[in-house]
Amino acid sequence: MAKENETREALETLRAAILQYDVEAARSAAQAVVDRGIDPMLAIREAIAGSTDILHRRFDSGECYLPHLVMAGDAMTAASQVLESAIPRESVPAKKVVVIGTVEADLHSVGKNIVAMMLRSAGFEVHDLGVDVKSSAFVTRARETGADIIALSCLMTTTRPYQREVIEELEAAGLRDRFKVIVGGGPITREWASHIGADGYGADAMEGLEVAKRLVGIGT
């Protein structure tokens, strides 16, 4: 019973540090978990992954903002590094990898930034290519990182054909089946996503995150 309480307390301390966006406190709390011999995988599942839903609800309700997701992501990363060092390498769960960016000729980044932060805080390894990204750059980075998902954002009606272009480049390179492609952004609809052969579509960041998780089999 005392051991259970101690475990619960340690995990709560770690979760609180993440939800307070405190990188150092998260790192210390993670170290305390390791020092007490608590299962690091349990801490990753319950304290780190368990913080994600709370963060996303806060963001959706306007209680916290994009920078908070960034800071929470940093805290999670710091804690994960400590916890993973206590797990045999072969047992460390491989992170699912996302390459994300705003397509060529489009400079809008707000939506893409939100999705990137949400994916990161949900435990994905995120490679953000920025804005005005050439279609070939998505493909190249996906290959280099062994990505699971390519996420394409656009906010202008006239730039959405570049989302299709990425898929066409994957097909031309014989790589279409290696990567899941999800699309989103203001002018993007479910019909467009289906029309271009995307694997998923998110009407907003929360839906985009759920779609990404479903596509890679997380939380299903």
Binding site: G62, P67, L107, S109, I114, T157, T158, R160
Partner: protein, 459 residues
């Protein structure tokens, strides 16, 4: 400072990683919010009644510009300004901008807070319309007598071909301007000013529509908008150089502040809302700006219909700050409830928030759904309605206290309602005959009658 000074600074300013810029901006916004005490009183008020707070918001915006500058995403460099340069730019902002020609020439003016003179009005567009609708839609919006200028449209297909790649973007840009000219001519207003809405943000596409005969004249304009998080881009500086020589007017469609992004909360949104119109003039020579503050997270159908007091208050702070301390001609100061679809009753209710524009010293922007959908994000009746509402607000002598009371009553009236999905233009409006379809007109008359009972004088 000239545009060439800006151009040089985009190339020579200090390098900074964009993530470092983003988080630095958040920290600075928090620091300034605290320093200048830009805090909503949390008393349910819809309008700021504290002139000193508005002036503090202005000072916070200036300090932000002087301490951090702006970020050029094209080069990853920071453009810094001295306090003198910022203040000189503010003094140089024109209080009047002449647009259009002949009998359709208009003067867009800076308004005083609460002024009751006729508003300037951009009746439509900044929305997606397909090519089969474009010239007829433009004619409809240009036919609205109170319209002073029109902004362009965006679209995905031209001459039946997908717009993909720069050559097609250039062609589409020229077609947009040509349709705008055709539409205003068909409306009997050939001299009405048009402002090009970017097909893409690449410099060649931005300057492609210039054509005295068939496209943008020197009495027309262009949208050169500041990006969120105090960011600018070289292609727009290039376009600004060309349009400045041409004599065209420039509009900052990115003049509002955002809550929820890297500016942080409402305080940061207010500071951004003050700073971005100034940035538009500093960096692009935008003589006209949108103004206000909004939430970064886009609302979706099903959101509750409610005029948020804190956000309305934020809009008033931004407008008061700009109005009291600059000459900038701004379109804004309106408030909205969620983001209901076009052609719906809830949209008409949301547009009643335009009664706040004259109180906040703003001119009127046409209706535009945040999550705009092709051929389904605005209609001429909505444009005429919001102008009616703003004019009625002035006629009724609505001041801040009365407007607050009215917004409270509206929230009571809208309790339990959710934002409706948008409706295709053909399902609510007859563009050929320039009139709403019967059911939609009934909806409009019903809403108008109810709003009149709440206190607006529509005589």
């Amino acid at each position: 400072m000239s545009l060439l000074d800006i151009a040089e600074r985009t190339q020579k300013g200090p390098k900074m990683d964009e993530n470092a810029w983003n988080m630095g901006l958040f920290r600075k916004m928090n620091e300034l919010t605290e320093k200048y005490q830009l805090v909503y009183p949390d008393d349910g008020s819809f309008f700021n009644m504290d002139d000193d707070l508005a002036d503090r918001a202005f000072q916070a915006g200036i300090e932000l510009l002087v301490d951090t500058g702006v970020y050029c995403i094209s080069t990853g460099r920071v453009i810094r300004f001295s306090r003198q340069e910022v203040m000189d730019a503010i003094r140089a902002m024109p209080a009047e901008v002449r647009v259009g020609e002949g009998k359709d020439a208009r003067v867009l003016k800076k308004r005083r807070l609460g002024e009751r003179e006729a508003l300037n009005f951009r009746s439509g567009h900044h929305a997606p319309w397909s090519e089969e609708f474009a010239p007829l839609v433009i004619k409809n919006f240009a036919q609205i007598p109170s319209c002073d200028y029109l902004e362009g449209i965006n679209f995905a297909v031209v001459d039946g071909r997908e717009i993909h790649g720069m050559p097609m973007e250039v062609y589409a840009a020229r077609r947009e301007a040509a349709w705008l000219r055709e539409g205003v001519r068909k409306a009997g207003r050939p001299g009405l000013a048009i402002a090009y809405y970017p097909i893409s943000t690449r410099a060649p596409v931005m300057i492609a529509p210039i054509d005295q005969e068939a496209g943008l004249r020197s009495t027309d304009g262009v949208l050169l908008s500041v990006l969120p998080d105090m960011k600018v881009e070289q292609d727009y500086v290039a376009a600004a150089i060309v349009y400045e020589e041409r004599g065209c007017f420039k509009v900052n469609g990115g003049g509002g502040g955002f809550v929820g992004g890297f500016a942080g909360g409402l305080g940061g949104g207010i500071i951004g809302g003050v700073a971005r119109p100034i940035v538009g003039f500093l960096v692009y020579r935008d003589e006209i700006s949108y103004a206000g503050v909004g939430r970064m997270q886009a609302t979706v159908p099903g959101a509750k219909m409610r005029f948020d007091p804190g956000m309305c208050w934020g809009v008033s702070v931004v407008c008061q700050a700009l109005n009291r301390n600059t000459n900038i001609v701004y379109f804004g100061g309106s408030v909205g409830a969620a983001d209901p679809g076009s052609g719906t009753e809830t949209r008409l209710w949301s547009l009643v928030g335009n009664m706040a524009a004259p109180i906040n010293g703003g001119n009127l922007s046409g209706p535009r759904q945040h999550r705009a959908q092709m051929n389904a994000s605005q209609n001429p009746l909505e444009a005429e309605w919001l102008y009616e509402v703003a004019t009625a607000s002035m006629r009724s002598g609505i001041d801040r206290a009365m407007a607050s009371d009215l917004l409270r009553k509206l929230n009571e009236r809208l309790e339990g309602r959710v934002a409706e999905e948008t409706v295709h233009i053909t399902q609510c409006y007859d563009l050929v005959n320039h009139k709403p379809l019967p059911d939609y007109e009934k909806t409009y008359l019903k809403v108008k009658e109810e709003v009149a009972r709440l206190g607006l004088d529509f005589r």
